[in-house]
């Protein structure tokens, strides 16, 4: 130990005048000594057995490598230290090895045994780093060793080592491509891995080694989609871009039948009234009318990909956002692509390089889908501080976005740009104006005038650019613009820019009949200066001369000959050629002259106007966001984006095999099996995982988040198996199962997290233990649940119970922390009874209320017009119990209220509100009554009778009626006790302002017919899978609004009717559900405000 300080003194001395080469900057250290000598010193230092000396030497060597200096002659000295104990020395030796091993292969072999030993180390990090270095040494002789090491590491317990194995695959492949087949096996194995850590790396390896083996992806497709959000950013980019290609080969184009589908849907909807007689048949016939092309239904896996990538648009990484954007652009139906615009516009705030790439892609997209970026037009406005390349790209986008409506604003912007100091940019702006003028006929003249004005600009470049653009514009409608051509002719005296001069000459020649006087004069002038002109101008002079000779040979014959003679002796052979050829064409010679007879046709043929189009026009055949797209040329290794297939390949290839036991439908059996399954759900995600995760836990002491269960989307077998069982039970509808599976998963996890955080608040220590029992509890509860049900199908059941579980959870969150724990135990019992009895939390037990769901079931059964007793059917409001007065604010008095949905006895126009008081203070509260209310116009209150006394701990219920006058304004009033007054307010949800009405289907239709036009509000929505069954839909609607169901002949239509309480206006609600989850909600009501709010509420309830 004493050696170290001694050395440091030593070193202090060495920096002195004696040995200046040991300066502190190791890289520039050797100025005075020869390389040879210095390396000698380094070798000496490496040979000592002091780590600090070795480290110092290695640092200098690394510094040399960093500067790009050659340090290869130190190889033998360095490689000896590969087994050094000191971690930093070791690391630096690795750096050196990886850099020089390729050059000194024989010597590098000396180090191999160290790494082989490292591969067997018990520490996962050492294993990983040994593999990393071993695979980075590009020495062909060790290929077999590498192969072996990779295979072994691929089934390592530690995901980190497996990740390293995935990284090593492309390294080996680039070293020896003959190993491909074996490597593919490894890739296949790693693709099945369920950890997020591995996913990104293995897909990267897949892309580099065997991107054509798309069949390897099938089985892992759903898993990759579900894992995606948890993979690190770099992996996300790679996976998304691979999945884009995959989807293009496996799914049908979402756009092919889009127009057809919409038409079809509309027909069915509007047609329903007339062909009542046909009833349910109408839709089928409409579909049958198009037998050749069955309506497009998006593959559920396709939808899964779109849905799971969408949140990533909000990633902080620009690369991820771009990857998702291109995925949507290439894969999503037209209507959904719009979502990416916002995120892309956000990236414009980023570094200029990011802006550059994003703008290029936006430019391409904006040609195809202009509407998408139109709302963000102003975000592309140019600042004077933008770099020129950004300015030009923004200009491109602005031009692409310009249309009839926004062109005035765009042109106004362009006007500002023209005065910029950046001349390249000005030139580009003029081009842009030209393009706007050609694309939008309405502004063509305005643009042309503007450009002509620019001709008097002081800057020659601006003038020249304008001339070129004017030339193109004039070509479209030359007849009207003789004046402009004259003006241009005058400019030939001043403009020196060759391109502009050439353009003017061409114009004059082409339209010489519009300027018969001026043209010969221009030619005269040009002939005079011919020799001094640029080549491009000379060619145009010849051109002009030829055209004039043909139209006006009397005046210009001599001039033409003069020009042609000058050209004949020009230095440029191009010009000499042209002159010779022109002369032969136009001047009739003695023999033949067949050509010269047609000369006029040759020279003065009408020429099509040029089309000014974006340079980004056809770029979208490259995958957006790729290097090839940016360069507009195929880069090495670019994978073509395949076209959509005509026929969808078999979707069942993506089905993952189901373990035997989940297939059994017998519930009893399943229940038995489930218990052990849930209890050790933690580490079971993969066969290799279980041992390992336990180990990691021990190693790192971080219990909560370890193991296979991932952070956001749980990959727990629990949820997966659930989906499996479902898909097996409802064969064929793989769609709904996979989707709902996903939903379940989220909720599961959501819940898990909620309860976890809560309980950790209670007691942090029990955190780890708690998880297991909780899982058990859940399992048993859901079992009981399913046992008790017999009428509904199983899948419905589970999704529903999930719903219910969530409901109280969210309610609990709103309540103050003190009362948080209380409902926890109730929750389970609530679940059990949910289906047949009102929830036990219900404070006032309404007499003989059959629960919503059962009632709804009954209704579904009755197809006759039999009316049911209203009181029997008034379901319980979704809103549940709400707080009126908090314990703290009320000084111990807690007041809640519910909308009971019973008719208020005193006044039918009133909504009956049950108020529930409880006294949590230790003194009795006396004289509870409603104080003088201050109410908005129209609203009135029927007070409840005074409660004389409420003892501590006791509770009481009172009923009061409020006439809300068909508005959702809050009723404010005072609650008075003997000592205090509390200001409270009750605001009704719109659904409580009505009462159910019972009518027959025919009556309903008749009434609906009266309430069309302004009184009808229609909204489209997507029903999530969780609420596609009759049962759930009816329940959700009736819970949201106090409406009664109207029996209905067709199965996919739901009708509900009610009357507002105060005015008694009818409220009719129709929900038309279509197979794929699309639905249309229509509300007919005289009260438009109520209608609109109701639509909003119902949609929210249904889509939640």
């Amino acid at each position: 130990m004493s050696a170290a300080p001694a050395y440091s003194e030593d070193k202090g001395g060495s920096a002195g005048p004696g040995e200046p080469e040991y300066g502190h900057d190791p890289a520039s250290g050797g100025i005075f000594s020869s390389d040879y000598k210095r390396h000698d010193d380094l070798k000496e230092m490496l040979d000592t057995n002091k780590d600090s000396l070795k480290l110092e030497a290695m640092k200098r060597i690394v510094a040399m490598i960093a500067r790009g200096k050659n340090a290869s002659d130190l190889f033998p000295a360095v490689v000896k230290n590969v087994a050094c104990k000191n971690i930093e020395v070791k690391k630096l030796v690795y750096v050196y090895l990886v850099r020089y091993a390729e050059e000194q292969q024989d010597l590098a072999l000396l180090s191999i045994s160290t790494f082989q030993r490292g591969l067997k180390d018990p520490n996962q990090l050492i294993r990983a780093s040994a593999l990393r270095v071993l695979s980075s040494i590009r020495v062909p002789i060790i290929v077999p060793i590498m192969m072996l090491a990779i295979k072994e590491a691929a089934s390592d317990m530690s995901p980190y080592v497996r990740k390293t194995a995935a990284h090593a695959i492309p390294k080996l492949y680039s070293l020896d491509s003959d190993q491909k087949d074996q490597l593919i096996e490894v890739i296949e194995k790693l693709l099945a891995d369920k950890t997020t850590l591995v996913a990104g790396s293995v897909v990267m390896a897949f892309e580099e080694v065997c991107p054509e083996r798309i069949d390897l992806i099938h089985k892992n497709y759903r898993k990759l989609c579900n894992l995606l959000i948890d993979v690190e950013e770099w992996g996300q980019v790679v996976i998304i871009s691979m999945l884009t290609r995959y989807a293009r080969t496996q799914f049908l184009s979402p756009t092919q039948n889009e127009s057809l589908l919409e038409e079809n849907a509309e027909k069915a909807f509007y047609g329903s009234e007339e062909d009542e007689a046909k009833g349910a048949g109408s839709e089928e016939t409409a579909a049958a009318a198009l037998p050749a092309r069955k309506p497009y239904i998006m593959d559920p896996d396709h939808r899964l990909l779109l849905r799971n990538t969408k949140p990533l648009l909000q990633s902080r990484s620009a690369a991820v956002v771009m990857a998702v954007a291109q995925l949507y652009f290439h894969l999503a139906p037209k209507a959904e692509v719009g979502v990416i615009a916002k995120a892309l516009v956000r990236l414009l705030r980023s570094h200029s390089e990011v802006q550059y790439v994003v703008l290029q892609n936006v430019a391409t997209m904006s040609i195809k889908r202009r509407g998408m970026f139109e709302p963000y037009l102003k975000s592309f406005y140019i600042r004077s501080t933008d770099p020129t390349q950004i300015k030009i790209l923004k200009l491109e986008v602005l031009t692409n976005l310009a249309n009839e409506t926004n062109i005035p604003t765009v042109l106004r912007e362009f006007q500002t740009y023209i005065r910029s100091m950046d001349k390249d940019f000005v030139a580009a702006t003029i081009q842009a104006i030209g393009r706007c003028a050609t694309n939008i006929g309405r502004v063509r003249d305005t643009c042309l005038n503007g450009l002509v004005q620019l001709l008097s600009n002081r800057d020659e470049l601006v003038v020249a650019e304008s001339v070129v653009v004017i030339k193109k514009l004039l070509q479209m409608q030359p007849a009207q613009h003789g004046e402009i051509i004259k003006h241009l002719a005058k400019l030939t005296d001043n403009i020196q820019v060759p391109m502009a001069r050439a353009s003017i000459l061409w114009l004059i020649g082409e339209y010489c009949e519009h300027v018969p006087r001026i043209a010969p004069d221009v030619l005269r002038k040009m002939a005079k200066s011919f020799t001094a002109e640029e080549d491009i101008v000379k060619l145009q002079v010849i051109n002009l001369a030829a055209k004039l000779y043909l139209t006006n040979s009397k005046q210009t014959k001599l001039l033409t000959q003069y020009v042609l003679s000058l050209a004949k002796y020009d230095q440029n052979y191009d010009i000499r050629d042209r002159a010779r050829f022109t002369r032969q064409l136009i001047v009739p010679s003695e023999q033949g002259g067949a050509l010269s007879r047609h000369a006029k046709k040759l020279f003065l043929a009408p020429k099509p106007a040029p089309v000014l189009e974006s340079s980004f026009k056809d770029r979208d055949h490259f995958q957006l966001g790729s290097l090839s797209h940016l360069l507009n040329a195929k880069a090495t290794g670019y994978q073509e984006l395949p076209d959509w297939p005509e026929e969808a390949p078999d979707p069942s290839v993506r089905n993952v095999e189901v373990p035997e036991w989940t297939k059994c439908s017998n519930r009893e059996k399943r229940k038995e099996k489930e218990k052990p399954f849930y209890s050790d759900s933690e580490g079971e995600s993969g066969p290799t995982e279980s041992a390992d995760s336990g180990k990691q836990m021990a190693e790192l002491g971080r219990p909560a988040y370890e193991g296979g269960g991932s952070y956001y989307s749980s990959t727990d077998p629990e949820s997966e198996s659930e989906s499996d069982s479902k898909s097996s039970s409802e064969s064929g509808s793989g769609e709904s199962s996979s989707e709902s599976d996903n939903e379940d998963q989220d909720e599961d996890e959501e819940k898990g997290r909620g309860s976890e955080s809560e309980q950790s608040e209670e007691d942090g220590k029990r955190k780890t233990k708690k998880k297991v029992p909780e899982g058990k509890g859940e399992a048993s509860s859901s079992d009981e649940d399913s046992d008790s049900s017999s009428s509904t199908s199983e899948s419905e059941m589970t999704s529903e119970s999930e719903e219910e579980q969530l409901e109280p959870a969210s309610w609990r969150r709103k309540t103050p922390p003190s009362s948080k724990r209380a409902p926890a135990t109730k929750e389970i019992s609530l679940l059990d009874l949910e289906d047949f009895t009102p929830p036990s939390v219900q404070p006032v037990s309404p007499p003989a209320i059959v629960s919503t769901s059962l009632a709804a079931d009954l209704e579904g059964l009755t197809l006759t017009d039999s009316t049911l007793v209203p009181s029997l059917l008034s379901p319980v409001s979704r809103v549940g119990r709400q707080e009126l007065l908090h314990r703290v604010a009320g000084e111990g008095l807690v007041v809640d209220y519910t909308f009971s949905r019973q008719p208020f006895s005193g006044d039918p126009h009133m909504v009956s509100v049950h108020i529930h008081f409880s006294n949590s203070s230790d003194t009795p509260i006396k004289g509870l009554h409603v104080g003088t209310p201050k109410l908005p116009a129209g609203i009135s209150i029927q007070e409840f009778p005074e409660i004389e006394s409420l003892a501590p701990g006791e509770s009481a219920t009172a009923v009061m009626g409020i006439n809300f006058c068909d508005s959702t304004q809050a009723a404010n009033f005072q609650l008075c006790t003997q000592t205090r007054q509390f200001y409270v307010s009750i605001q009704p949800p719109v659904g409580e302002l009505m009462a159910p009405v019972f009518m027959s289907e025919n009556e309903f239709k008749k009434e609906q017919g009266k309430l069309m036009g302004m009184n009808e509000i229609t909204e489209k929505l997507m029903l999530p899978d969780t609420c596609r069954s009759d049962h759930v839909v009816v329940q959700k609607v009736t819970a949201t609004a106090n409406l009664g169901r109207v029996p209905c002949g067709t199965s996919d239509e739901y009708r509900f009717a009610g009357r507002t309480l105060t005015s008694g206006s009818l409220v009719l609600l129709t929900l038309d559900a279509r197979p794929a989850g699309a639905a249309q909600l229509t509300v007919n009501s005289e009260k438009m405000v109520i209608g609109t709010m109701l639509v909003k509420d119902v949609i929210q309830a249904l889509t939640q």
């Binding site: 500067r67 790009g68 930093e88 516009v345 004077s384 770099p387 790192l700």
Partner: protein, 418 residues
């Protein structure tokens, strides 16, 4: 993917190179220098350059070029994003991302690059993990190291890399547990000649500095979350919670990081806190012009506007400027033609102004365009969009953290056309 990296300074020296696959000769950079020459301005060097055998993707940060060599197809943003991440890491480690700092710490830089990329594919880029693997240099540590010969390389294992929360390291301990949030909003605007707003929007970020022990689970809620139109998140945020409840729920990384960045929906009118009266004119056929600008407060919500700076890129023909100012100080750089006026605070009683004569090159035509004014300012304790943090709750740990939120509004790309 990424084959090699070259760091090049402004004068064109390649001062660091790193190869992840076979060595690529420095001469590949010649294509880059060529493009740089053509571009004239550093900002205009195209980020992607195609050469016969390679593609060069570069970024320009802090007067340095990071040039990476690519051989096969790769999303360019992937590389650009990574290079910026490298620059950020240097910044994080050395306090600045400069040539001197990199040269001084060349070994650490090399070790970092080694960890960040494996075979050209990013491996560990989270600052929390890297700091566990390679300790950042501090003065104290470098003294200790030189005495004891110990190293900057951590000998413990990077726990973050192995967990599902890769952004947080395990075993964090603080004696003072604190969580600070800075809500910083920037106003991007283009104001036209007449003073009307052509374009304005608010871009905001919430930067967090979290020093909490253990594994805290935080949730941050806002009074008015609907204001946030477009949000991008740090990976630690649970997207589902935000979607359903508009609450930011996350297990934070340790230290400083950007929690979210957002844009306030464009439907809302943006309050523009300052106005500028300007009259800049150049006389035809004379070698001088007039310059007169005045700044005043407007819609400032009763807060003082401070730190005002006006930057003007004058046209090339301007030789010199003779100005007088009622407040602050100004400088004019005759080489870059940049006029900078450092105003400071605005007091409504006496509006700051800057006026005087502009000397032009004689004989040259008068400039056509008036230069646009770039304005910087700062308003403390105000988020101009009205965004307010409601509360911060912590679960998972038992201690009571100290919490703080700070609001600042700044000018972003705030430009007045004249």
């Amino acid at each position: 993917m990424i084959h090699s990296l070259f760091l090049i300074n402004c004068s064109g020296d390649i001062f660091l190179e790193k190869h992840w696959k076979s060595v690529v000769s420095q001469s590949v950079c010649d294509y880059f220098f060529e493009a740089q020459e053509k571009a004239a301005d550093v900002e205009n060097v195209p980020p992607v350059i195609s050469t016969p055998h390679h593609y060069l993707i570069s970024i320009y940060r802090d007067k340095l070029f990071f040039v990476s060599v690519i051989q096969t197809e790769v999303p360019p943003l992937f590389v650009i994003e990574f290079l910026h991440r490298v620059a950020d890491t240097f910044q994080d480690y050395f306090g600045e991302c400069s040539e001197a700092a990199i040269k001084d710490n060349v070994v650490i830089v090399y070790e970092l690059l080694e960890e960040m990329l494996d075979n050209g594919f990013p491996l560990a880029t989270e600052s929390n993990i890297l700091k566990e693997l390679i300790k950042p240099p501090t003065i104290l540590r470098s003294v200790v190291n030189s005495i004891t010969g110990s190293s900057n390389v951590g000998d413990t294992l990077p726990t973050g890399q192995l967990s599902n929360i890769p952004w947080r390291r395990a075993g964090v301990k603080y004696t003072n547990n604190e969580a600070y949030f800075d809500v910083v909003e920037e106003i991007d605007a283009i104001i036209d000649k007449s003073g009307s707003t052509v374009f304005a929007e608010i871009q905001g970020v919430i930067d967090a500095c979290i020093k909490l022990s253990g594994m805290p689970d935080l949730s941050l809620s806002f009074m008015n979350p609907r204001l946030l139109d477009d949000v991008s998140f740090h990976p630690c945020i649970r997207f589902k919670r935000w979607e359903s409840e508009r609450v930011l729920s996350f297990i934070p990384p340790d230290g400083n990081f950007r929690l979210i960045s957002y844009r306030v929906s464009s439907q809302n009118l943006v309050a523009i806190p300052v106005y500028v009266k300007h009259s800049i004119s150049f006389k035809e056929n004379s070698s001088c012009g007039r310059f007169d600008i005045t700044i005043g407060p407007k819609q400032n919500m009763g807060k003082t506007i401070e730190g005002i700076t006006v930057t003007v890129h004058m046209p090339k023909v301007v030789l010199n400027m003779n100005l007088t100012t009622t407040q602050g100080s100004y400088t004019f750089d005759p080489v870059t033609k940049v006029l900078t006026w450092d105003v400071g605070k605005i007091t409504p009683q006496k509006l700051p102004s800057l006026k005087g004569l502009v000397n032009l090159q004689s004989g040259a035509p008068k400039p056509e365009e008036n230069p646009s004014l770039n304005i910087q300012f700062k308003i403390q304790q105000l988020a101009i969009s009205g965004l307010k943090v409601n509360r911060l709750d912590m679960y998972g740990e038992k201690y009571k953290p100290f919490k703080g939120v700070k609001y600042v509004t700044k000018a972003g790309k705030f430009q007045v056309r004249t």
